[in-house]
Symmetry: C2
Amino acid sequence: MLEQSLLLTDLYELAMLEAYAAHGMAGTASFELFVRKLPPTRGFLMAAGLEQLVGFLETMRFMDEEIGWLRASGMFSPGFLDGLAALRFTGDVDAMPEGTVFFGDEPILRVTAPLPEAQLIETRLINLMHFQTVIASKAARMVLAAPGRQLVDFGLRRAHGAEAGLLAARASYLAGFSATATVLAHRDFGIPVSGTMAHSFIQAHDDEATAFERFARVRPKALTLLIDTYDTERAAAIVARLAPRLAAEGIHVTAVRLDSGDLAAHARRVRAILDAAGQNGIRIFASGGLDEGVLQRLVIDGAPIDGFGVGTSLTTSADAPALDCAYKLQEYAGRPRRKKSEGKATWPGRKQVYRRYAADGTIAGDVIALAGELMDGEALLQPAMRAGRRVAGLPTLEQARACAATALTRLPDVLRRLGPGAVPVAISQGIRDLVARMDLAAQPDSVP
Amino acid sequence: MLEQSLLLTDLYELAMLEAYAAHGMAGTASFELFVRKLPPTRGFLMAAGLEQLVGFLETMRFMDEEIGWLRASGMFSPGFLDGLAALRFTGDVDAMPEGTVFFGDEPILRVTAPLPEAQLIETRLINLMHFQTVIASKAARMVLAAPGRQLVDFGLRRAHGAEAGLLAARASYLAGFSATATVLAHRDFGIPVSGTMAHSFIQAHDDEATAFERFARVRPKALTLLIDTYDTERAAAIVARLAPRLAAEGIHVTAVRLDSGDLAAHARRVRAILDAAGQNGIRIFASGGLDEGVLQRLVIDGAPIDGFGVGTSLTTSADAPALDCAYKLQEYAGRPRRKKSEGKATWPGRKQVYRRYAADGTIAGDVIALAGELMDGEALLQPAMRAGRRVAGLPTLEQARACAATALTRLPDVLRRLGPGAVPVAISQGIRDLVARMDLAAQPDSVP
């Protein structure tokens, strides 16, 4: 499978592995994954993707045909390729549990493994962790913007490929969405699936009323009718007349869906039309170009909309489709390591993040410290794998979703309102001392 | 496989299929895929993804275990599910060849098939065509921004999942990139693969010179050394001293890579250091936060950079990660259909796009016309599938890449410079007459 192949990696990972092998460099390495700086439109991020990463690491191996192809490519020495067949991930992973809220520079995951293993997994590790973290972080904003409203992922079609569509459903559910339209996400993750109808269904019929009736008979239990194909209010009137007739047959119109125009204005008029016909029970569901800003305005304005289908802006995280994340070597063979590139210098050593809470339960601030440093607060990085196997009790998707819900309640108010603001993140004295010692030890004249 | 499952779809597609089946609606439908309006930062788009779509349509079918799972889910009637086993795609596809440049409202693909087939494929069809079109359109801008420079896709890690990473390599190569770092894209698509080294490789060694030498011995043919881990110019001096020694062993340093700081300034200083040491043959390769705007400035400023590795901005199309595209029913059972939703009304009927060129060979303008309408100009939609099978002679990736290269030379100058501007796109009189006839025929009082 595409998503499990170890050839889904950057060429340089294999090139480095060959060099490590040639020089017997198989000491223990610690790499950490972190986001350097949050996008301007994000006050917090939410960790996600660990479950898929652990699944990948537990089963990863080079297939015989992959090694055969590498051999035929002539890009690597035969001796090096011989060694790949036995390569497995045997290391440890510590990570923030999925659904944890985090901030810039904080390690969200640490891999401790023999250098070649920790190196090889870099590309796919970032690919898996980055994407779901991007989506969970975006979805969490929508959850905060529309409290108590049903939010459904409609975004498979414009997600970036198959895996993105499937995992966006997972990440958004984890962050608090109610359901997805993606059938496979229901099968693979148990996420509630829901769906309405497309304009093409209406258009394929000669009139809207017939289309509604026909659809009703195949969806008698969870029936949502799309009413904006020609004229939203006229269609609402059709639904108002049709609903009692269907009810007599035991078919209940659950909701109508609006997908275009001024959603608040249409929702008010449609609500009035339905209520005047005694159809107070029919809910109004809206979709079309929604993002957390639009959701927030609709909710604040009191638009009578009960649920939202969110597509493109969710599954592409349209305003921030990528994070400035990195997976960096922090320790090798017992010695801390530090990259000093301009604007991209890293904090060395194996680290932990400690979180402190205010009296009202909201996050007061975090401290990034060395893993061995004594600190108050909740340690956010928790064991996820030991010696290549997942630890017992890794959270289920439902547990991660509960963790995410709790995490959102503990955000400072300004972040819950999606306003600008930042939680203070401090660097411990232990890290600062380590950096000072490393700078002192650096040989300024080491050019040979 | 995830990317071939027909369960990777929206629930409503299956719900509509059940309703179509219940009412014997299997007439011929024509759907068209188009982008309503270009993103503000795009003057043109480039069609891509057809090859993957055709592959999907040729082989698509419900697996027995998928039907079994649908049955167990209780979401559909058993009779309907029985019919799914035999479902295949038997229709026609006409499409702009991959690499074709196009503009807003133009159909880039038309499916003509029995309604259930044309409906079912909607979600994955958009998912496949949208993504590669997004990426090819972004990559084409980079190709125009850095003419004659080597451009390499470095973006797998931050692409949205496995398929996005793999297909971004394909779409960017199609648009004119030289290579990718993704090993699997080399295997699956024959795209040249290239790679350098990561900072972690340098950091894992006690000094840079040792790291360079060790890497050199495993990459004697295409050796690029990363020089910004600690101090770019100091590392360039190390390379300048090391290169003659390696050359004596038959190992040639092909390039150095810069990945941080002011790339133009570093490139000038590094060029001077290398040239002063007689190493004029070592090329300079740059990466880190590049997009077409940065590329354009570096090239215009004459920065001595020979090639670029582009990651995140390419594989997420960061400034425009999604297009406002739609797949809409334009004709069913011989009758044109039209969606009239506010701001989302469609042009009805089966259409064709005709392109006219100025005397200098650049695009003068397009006309969107009915498929049967007589028009001057090049007809852009070409047969891709007939009766469920691909037509003979569908372009290879290399042919599509050549088509893209030609298309970029035929863009008006302002678009080649990535400036604002638009190619005129007209709607034919035939379409306008059809809309008028449909509006006239519409029953204003059809509420039952």
